[in-house]
Symmetry: C2
């Protein structure tokens, strides 16, 4: 089965519409991860960008890590995950961007060490969701701070009703998502 079809079937089977546009997928994408499904997802996303000379995948901890690692494996490039807390192994000066947090309120800070994002890098951003696009916007900001080149944006699931995609039209890069949800009203999950 194609990854996108497998994913839709899984969302209908195990996903839960919690209302307010919140889709619970913590049985197979975050918290508990279906590693084989994520591998399929990674290969499917990589295939959409196979013609581009990507040198690095960039994601945000935590939920982006599994799909991004698999996409990076498929593209045979390293993956960098922007960190929310500075570990002691990170240098003093880092690239920093912030995005509003859905789950905690306030802003979340994303940091990348200049060691791992270079001006020569051609970057594919990968995240679990493309919703309002604010986390991805922060990742784009990090790419720009590094002077690297953004090659594209990929997400596993797009919540089209949050309109995030339109925020990136100015970037003129391909945006690919495996599954598009157009509505979550009345407890339903409607695919494009």
């Amino acid at each position: 089965m194609y990854a996108s079809e497998a994913l839709k079937a899984r969302i209908l089977q195990d996903g839960r519409n919690l209302g307010n546009g919140i889709l619970k997928v913590d049985g197979f994408i975050n918290h508990q991860v279906d590693a084989r499904l994520m591998m399929q997802v990674g290969y499917a996303l990589a295939a959409r960008f196979a013609s581009l000379p990507i040198t690095k995948v960039l994601t945000a901890e935590i939920s982006g890590i599994a799909p991004a690692v698999m996409t990076a494996m498929a593209l045979d490039v390293p993956v960098v995950y922007a960190r929310k807390h500075k570990p002691i192994t990170m240098p003093e000066r880092t690239y920093i961007a912030s995005a509003p947090s859905h789950t905690k309120g306030g802003d979340v800070t994303l940091m990348v060490s200049p060691e791992w994002l270079r001006p020569a890098d051609k970057v594919l951003i990968v995240d679990d969701f493309l919703a309002s696009g604010q986390t991805i916007r922060a990742l784009v900001d990090l790419v720009q701070q590094a002077g690297a080149e953004l090659m594209g944006i990929a997400a596993v699931i797009e919540k089209a009703f949050e309109g995030g995609r339109a925020n990136f039209a100015d970037l003129h890069v391909p945006i690919e998502t495996l599954v598009t949800i157009t509505s979550m009203e009345n407890g339903r999950i409607v695919f494009a």
Copy 2:
């Protein structure tokens, strides 16, 4: 090349001994991840436990996720990452354990939803480092709270000089690590 040999070579090439027993591996294991190397690591760790009827891999966010996802993929079982912050998709009641944090001071709390760790589960714990063993001890605690069965403990790199392995002798489960570092004194990195 065997995963353990590839890993040793990579540690010597790109790892940095920051002193006080801190090994900087954020160019290939955490922050930036060499996805292909992690896949090798995952298959190598899985092979050590191939004879056991494991149903689930358990790790802790964040650095454990990449090697744990790859190990789970190789074993063809789901992977659960214990969360440090409760997302809105997590139920009220969770299993909770805490471990001292090296990087932030104080304690870090690890949470797992009872939905994804069940009494019937046979669990392999996977983490990036086995050092003092305190994070892994918290994961063991979560397995016990769930009434699940601990089948083994795996880590990518063991800092034998921190003595963590001895803390788990009472559990009578196999403990496997791919690379063992016996000393980081005087700026050196000495393998077993």
